[in-house]
Symmetry: C2
Subunit: 110 residues, 2 copies
DNA sequence: TCCATATTTCCAGATTTCCAGAAATGAAGA
DNA sequence: TCTTCATTTCTGGAAATCTGGAAATATGGA
């Protein structure tokens, strides 16, 4: 992942509505959620939500599939992984115990 | 970690200078870097950098230690771990294979 | 084709963030 | 105490972001 994309991803998640959207899609997994339902579940206007979804999509954090007249959104865990890899680059040089907590946090859930 | 702190952390990292600072500190590990050196290494004014460091600190991403007249900054990997845990909450409900890529990305480096 | 539904795009105003200059604070040494 | 170095705080203007109204686009069905 390049720096520009990492920045857009982090800036995208650093906004309340978009953070809520991403977490909603992470919880929804392979099922995904249609744009309109995302908007109504998070009590936002469809046009505002569309702008947020566009930003998340541009940042590689969500993926879409058209389904009839609605558009279904999914969390893109591959994009998220790339972001993490970028953030933790060279974290272990000489002192693996420093980033050990991070590994444990991610692995223990699954 | 509560949502407000997660938001500040993500917003903090979603800015180029601060992202550079965090990655610099992650690479520097237990050695840390003094505030002035951070500023000069990233070609920023000391006062501007101080504002950025304050934001990162408030977000729980960095930690400080006074050392004579300089202040040494360190990446706070515990705070970072908490952020990840918040982002991945309930990610595996029913479909562990979705977040599998994330686990692999984090574990393979150490 | 015409209509209804779902979503997106365009635009403008309100708010927030970013940055640099000036001044203030904290710590060490003469 | 006075000076110097390192860092932080305060402040204002420029730039970017967030939000909602209005209009446009896309899809499916009558």
């Amino acid at each position: 992942m390049d720096k520009t994309l990492a920045l857009s991803a982090l800036a995208a998640l650093g906004q309340e509505t978009r953070l809520d959207v991403f977490r909603l899609l992470v919880r929804s997994g392979a099922e995904g959620v249609a744009a309109g339902e995302i908007a109504s579940r998070l009590a936002a206007l469809p046009n505002t939500m569309s702008a947020h979804l566009k930003i998340l999509s541009h940042a590689g954090l969500v993926r879409t599939e058209r389904e009839g007249r609605s558009v279904r959104y999914f969390a893109d865990m591959t994009g998220f992984r790339d972001l993490l890899a970028y953030l933790m680059e060279d974290c272990c040089n000489g002192a693996p115990e420093l980033c050990q907590p991070v590994i444990q946090a991610v692995t223990c859930n699954c």
